[in-house]
Amino acid sequence: MRRALSLIVLLVLAVGLASALRGPSVGAEARRASLIDDDEVNFGRRYNSRAVEETGASNVVASVLVTYRGLDTLGEVTVLFVAATGLAALLHTGRRRRSEREATPASLIVFTGCRFLFPLILLFGAYIFAHGHLTPGGGFQGGAIIASGFLLIYLGCRGRQPESKRLSAVESLAGLAFVLIGLIGLAVGGSFLLNFLPEGSPYALLSAGIIPVVYVFIGFKVGSELGGIVGDLSGAR
């Protein structure tokens, strides 16, 4: 009975969705066709044509993430922060109950391999977030790569775990720095997350104003946060 009911609900939903999606999907487009010269166009089209000139970032995705939708990105960073903090808070009680189990050390080959790879992974992650405004990638991707380095350490070098206090401090300071950059924009130009640094010439490493700066902080934050989550889940901190 329950299964039949849920199937019916799904069917109704599917039919409704299909009928709604039929026909031209961008309804407002036709109405706005006359206004294209007046910038009153579809967001995507405007970003594609103007982003490089407006923000100086050759990676349009980065300019959308950090400039046009910068507040959303700050929000997403906060969502990740909330998730990491909430997970740590919920695991807090469970951890005390768990008995101290002795971790068997990994073999010499694994240990050496992890120690060898860890700095390279960090370097690659840093490369990804530092070049976010030029090439595909950015703070979140670079941070995830860095966190995979921490995962490797937790798995392979059990004796040498990153200190959770340091991770937490980096996480806090990087988040604060993001908010402060936004506030500097507010103080200088009256607009939160304003790109107050010079744009430079596109395709150069030092270009696009605050975008690479923000991406570096996001990279640090996401890296330490995901690293902390991995540590929490493995019961290490």
């Binding site: 709604a20 109405r31 969502v79 909330v82 997970l87 924009g185 507010l186 997350l193």
Partner: protein, 495 residues
């Protein structure tokens, strides 16, 4: 430099450094949420006169709307963020002494982020940004519900998480739809173009958004998570969830329906959903023996009444709904806070174990009584003025059907009165249960850090109840902020 943006940015920055402060001294983190909310309250008061003249459009990244995210700090946005700051401030003062066990620094971080999420929701004028702040609010409340780490807490937190995640996915689908239809995410820009697509498409996207936000707003078929979540959370969190979090969900629903889709009449269904939610909530509350579950069900009942008032879709109806939002936020926060230490002292949530509390915890019991009478709608308190506004708005058109519905609303109020009077009578006139601790009034009463916010809330409830004029003069502009779609579009886009 003074800008409504600071209402979000300042507490957010403080929340980010709270873990760092926690490394230095865990005691210090207890004062962070209170400091942040005191700042927000002051700033909100400073901004209010200005935004009453004209809404303050806050752009980000130096681009004019609709091409970047913008906030609209109108009478409604700033008014609600003032309410969030006030209740948040009082509850965080309470939590300074109340939250002693567990990862305290994380509690205060999450609590502050919950309030940041709520403030961001009421200020944002961008649909996706609204969703991002909604997620901040929801995820921090999932974690806080399970804060105590006991079985009931984790279970209800998981239940809440699953239902909330389904709701969030529906919202995301709805936003995807809207973006596909209109190519924009700015609420004003969507509102301007909403009649350029077929009604079917409008309906589908609206249904997704309303259902999704409706989970957090706890409207009837979507509220299965609420009684468990509100009753197993720590009392300070129950107060915020009932007082603020549900209202944020309701705000999102109302903003989507009134401002984006510009509904000037509501289908009868909305009124019926409101009435049903009211009746089911009050009836379930009536049969509870657990005081926190009772309060949680009573919140569902009040939400039903607010939905009913919003469903009237008239200026006076929306004013009444906003009045109820304020009165319920204050009264329910007061009830959960005053009951918090009673439960702490007796170690039980059974109503029968609270008998005779009037002598052992006189101040808490008196304030509980004030909150309960205000919720029921007795005259000298704020709840009376709020309920009276709603009922007057419903009877304004003299439609026979509405009159019948008002009768049902009043019936719900009678049920509400019955169970609250039962508790109040038990508190003051029944002997304490066998084996209760002996009378040691000075040690038994809640500590000062808890009594200050409780008494302040009670004082506000009485003061606004006696002089409703201090509040009602802001309700009119706030209701128009929600209802007047053309003015909203004009302010944001300048057309």
């Amino acid at each position: 430099m003074v800008s409504p943006m600071l209402l979000i940015a300042a507490p957010l920055g403080l929340a980010f450094i709270t873990p760092l402060l926690g490394l230095l001294s865990e005691r210090l983190t207890r004062y962070v949420p209170a400091a942040a909310m005191a700042f927000n309250f002051t700033l909100g008061l400073l901004l209010l006169p200005r935004v009453l003249r004209e809404p303050w459009i806050v752009e980000t990244a130096g681009l004019r709307p609709p091409f970047s995210i913008h906030l609209v700090a109108g009478p409604l946005g700033v008014g609600l963020s003032l309410l969030i700051a006030l209740v948040g401030l009082l509850v965080s003062i309470y939590a300074i002494g109340y939250v002693r066990e567990g990862p305290v620094a994380k509690y205060h971080t999450l609590y502050l982020l919950l309030l940041v999420g709520a403030t961001g929701m009421v200020l944002s004028a961008d649909l996706f940004n609204l969703f991002v702040f909604f997620e901040i609010l929801c995820i921090s409340s999932y974690a806080l519900v399970g804060y105590r780490g006991d079985r009931a807490g984790i279970e209800s937190s998981a239940k809440y998480l699953v239902q909330g995640a389904i709701g969030s996915s529906l919202i995301l689908l709805g936003i995807g739809f809207v973006y596909g239809l209109f190519g924009t995410l700015s609420m004003a820009d969507i509102a301007r173009n909403v009649d350029s697509v077929t009604p079917m498409k409008v309906f589908i996207s609206m249904a997704f958004l309303i259902t999704g936000f409706g989970v957090e707003a706890a409207v009837l078929p979507l509220n299965a998570w609420l009684p468990d979540a509100h009753s197993s959370a720590p009392s300070s969190i129950s107060a915020i969830l009932s007082g603020i979090a549900i209202k944020a969900g309701l705000y999102a629903v109302a903003r989507v329906v009134f401002t984006i889709y510009g509904a000037d009449t509501m289908p009868m269904l909305v009124l019926l959903v409101g009435i049903l939610t009211l009746l089911v909530g009050e009836m379930s509350a009536f049969s509870q023996n657990n005081i926190k579950r009772l309060l949680a069900y009573s919140s569902i009942g009040q939400i039903g009444l607010i939905v009913f008032a919003l469903g009237l879709a008239s200026a006076s109806g929306v004013q009444g709904a906003l009045f109820l939002v304020v009165s319920h936020a204050l009264a329910k926060a007061l009830l959960f806070l005053s009951v918090g230490y009673m439960i702490y002292r007796t170690g039980s949530m059974e109503i029968s174990s609270l008998y005779g509390m009037g002598r052992r915890m006189p101040v808490s019991s008196l304030c509980f009584t004030i909150g309960a009478f205000s919720l029921v709608g007795l005259p000298p308190f704020i709840g009376f003025a709020a309920k009276f506004t709603v009922i007057r708005a419903a009877l304004a058109g003299a439609a026979p059907l509405l009159t019948a519905l008002v009768a049902i609303v009043l019936l719900g109020t009678v049920v509400e009165g019955a169970y609250f009077f039962r508790i109040v009578q038990g508190l003051h006139f029944r002997p304490p249960p066998e084996g209760a601790a002996p009378e040691q009034t000075d040690q038994y009463e809640a500590p000062v850090s808890a009594l200050v916010p409780i008494c302040l809330l009670a004082a506000i409830i009485v003061a606004v109840g006696l002089y409703p004029g201090v509040l009602t003069k802001y309700l009119g502009p706030a209701a128009m902020d929600l209802l007047d779609k053309a003015a909203y579009i004009h302010h944001v886009l300048g057309v």
